[in-house]
């Protein structure tokens, strides 16, 4: 009999705040995190808005209580903060017995520091502090998180673009179910860097204005940064008093259509959603709310919409994209949105899809997201989608714990 997997802690840092309380406050006051670029040094400052975490690296060191002479990337700092919030909420359990896994999703590692070193290195192959390269790999920030929390045992990092942290959540659950672990701290982190801003810009999928997910006139996405982590625990060892919600479904598929574009019939998205519902053992009509991937690009929103129609027919549940608040946090997206899904279940709310005006014309039955914050809901099941480059598509299903 498969063990139940409970969530006992959540932590998030993003453009809408340094923890879950601030995130919720900003959502309730409809304050999006999109703004002119403040921290990132790029020629695009003033031209493209971003969803930056509103703290400098110096301030992040202070928040984390870490000596600023310790060589840490922005990625590591963000991850440490969110993971710690989740861990503390779960009762700050002792993590040194090898029964806890720490799995983080990340795409560009310590690129925020690497790109500075590389500029010096390119000018002169003997120049620059080469030890920066030791913080470059994706694994580095995960190890920083594990060390910060005193975790030994199993640590790993998944890098599957924008589905990375949804995939770590799935991995943690599967490890617990197979008896390899009792607990897993899972989610992901990504920090903004010139590398990613320019990459998305050259693909022409960035919005020069504030993004409008699922809108007919959407222009692209706003890049964001941040970290979102949850603590998963086995039903065998969990303290019931700590349970926030339950993770009941998860699946990963591959679109296998194109390196960056989603298939016109939304195959990967469809398979991911269907797979997650199957694992959860529920029919589509049991879903009360979908936190869509909803980046605001022409391609994703259309493809995801088509996949939703394939799953839900004409009975599309209430849905919204929270990326209008947080931006697209890349490797952290799955984790950030998992935290928001758990918060939604805890507080029985549905998030508004900001700046929505006109439904996408391609759909005969219009796909209209929620545009107001809805409270006092009766939510049992939430479906959360995360779709990435390389056709990597993942979905998670969360259940309210009553």
């Amino acid at each position: 009999m498969a063990k139940r997997i409970f969530i006992t802690g959540i932590g998030v840092i993003s453009a809408i705040g340094k923890n879950t309380t601030e995130a919720l406050e900003n959502i309730q006051s409809l304050s999006s995190g999109v703004a002119d670029i403040q921290h990132l040094k790029t020629v695009h400052k003033g031209k493209i808005p971003l969803c930056e975490v509103k703290y400098s690296n110096k301030e992040l060191y202070q928040l984390a209580g870490v000596d600023p002479s310790t060589p840490l990337t922005r990625t590591a700092l963000l991850g440490m903060l969110a993971a710690k919030e989740a861990w503390q909420q779960a009762g700050s359990p002792e993590l040194g017995d090898g029964k806890t896994g720490v799995f983080s999703g990340n795409t560009v590692g310590g690129m925020d520091k690497t790109e500075h070193f590389y500029a010096e290195f390119m000018a002169d192959a003997t120049a620059g502090d080469v030890r920066t390269m030791l913080t470059h790999e994706c694994a580095h920030s995960t190890e920083c998180i594990a060390n910060y929390l005193g975790a030994t045992g199993m640590v790993s990092t998944i890098s599957t673009a924008c589905s990375s942290s949804a995939n770590t959540i799935m991995l943690g659950a599967r490890m617990i179910k197979q008896g390899l672990l009792d607990r897993a701290i899972v989610g992901g982190v990504d920090a903004l860097a010139k590398f990613t801003v320019n990459g998305f810009n050259v693909l022409q999928i960035l919005d020069e204005q504030y993004c409008q997910p699922f809108d007919q006139n959407r222009r692209g996405l706003n890049l964001g940064e941040g970290a979102g982590f949850v603590v998963l625990e086995s039903e065998d060892t969990v303290d019931e008093a700590n349970i926030l919600a339950e993770l009941v479904g998860y699946a990963n598929s591959n679109d296998a259509y194109h390196q960056t574009a989603s298939s016109p019939d939304g195959t990967g998205a469809y398979l991911a959603m269907k797979g997650a519902l199957d694992v959860a053992g529920i029919a589509a009509d049991a879903v009360d709310y979908v936190n869509v991937h909803g980046t605001g690009t022409n391609n994703n929103d259309l493809s995801e919409g088509i996949a939703m129609q394939r799953i839900f027919g004409n009975n599309i549940p209430k849905f919204s994209s929270t990326k209008a608040f947080t931006g697209h946090t890349l490797g952290a997206a799955g984790g950030v949105e998992a935290v928001l899904s758990v918060l939604a279940l805890k507080h029985q709310i549905i998030y508004p899809n900001l700046r929505f005006e006109t439904p996408i014309a391609d759909f005969e039955t219009p796909l209209v997201p929620e545009t107001a914050l809805l409270e006092n809901q009766d939510l049992t099941y939430i479906l959360s989608n995360s779709f990435g480059f390389g056709g990597n598509t993942s979905s998670l299903v969360f259940k309210a714990y009553k």
Binding site: T42, V43, H44, G98, V102, N106, T107, E115, Y118, A119, A125, V130, R131, M133, L134, E137, C138, A139, T142, E143, A151, T152, G153, M154, V155, S156, T157, I158, S159, T160, A161, N167, R174, M175, Q178, L180, K194, F195, N198, G199, N201, V202, L203, N252, S253, N254, D255, A256, Y257, H258, Q259, T260, T267, G268, L271, G388, F389, G390, G391, N392
Partner: protein, 324 residues
Amino acid sequence: MKPTIYINGIGNISPQDTFDQPMGTELAQAESAFFVCQEPVYKTFIQRKLLRRMSRVVRMGLAASYKALEQANNPTIDAIVTGTAWGCVKDTEKFLETIIENNEEYLTPTAFVQSTHNTVGGQIALMHHNNCYNMTYVQGNVSFESALVDALLLLWEQKATNLLVGGIDEQTDQLKVLLKRLTCAIPEKRVMGEGAAFFVLSTEKTATTKAQLVGARMLYRPNDTAVQNSIQALLKEAGIEALDLVLTGVANKTVVDNTAHCTYKQLCGEYPTSSSFATALAANLVQGDRATMQALHLEGDTPKHILIYNEDAVHTSMILINNA
């Protein structure tokens, strides 16, 4: 009851002559501080118009996966799991260099798109029109072990009957410069390598079965007790009392008492997913492959139970291979 897991196909691109046979008879030597792969002619596997966008690491991964599938008689694949620590280095460098040189103008989208770590896994899925589970692990020296642990989970969960799992890391000229500066690469003393090794794992034993994969473990900052406990747990899973050989990435260290030890990195160099190369070696050895025995200066009986072991400052890992 957990199903027995078999290795039914191997595709191994390494600094040795390992693509068309388990091991070449003439051993290649490293040049100074670097060991570079002997590569197949990619045009024989991949159409020219697809090949042109693929960086070297993607070509290596694709070719190794094709070979593994071919050896296993092309079964339907239910999952693709890869491990890579360095990722798509060339494309990352290319995009970064252009950003710096051109001050964020005239940038090439292809390099950015190909720089994501899951490009190899994604391309394999694309080439085979495969919608199955697809995962990429990037955890330093346990990237391949992470992929193996996930692959084993899938097979035990019965989510997969046949799957592809692989480890891959590429060197580039720039990376070599950096590795030297970091004193990871020291001419004549510490050789850095690269490689791509892919395996078809299956719950079914077939005519192409080469070995049994008993299990894999990766430990983060373990103490000696935790390491020995893991080894014992693996032996118990295999139902054996003792090992025949420890194939180790660490010279001059006794991992298991009263057991023959043999290093492998003198054949492939040091790189994060070198244990995937060692897995191919171990699978060859349990079949009694002479050339592999000779390459490792092993004599006597064919080893039947082999523990692959590796460690660094924070990670310790082990993989247990049995004859099938």
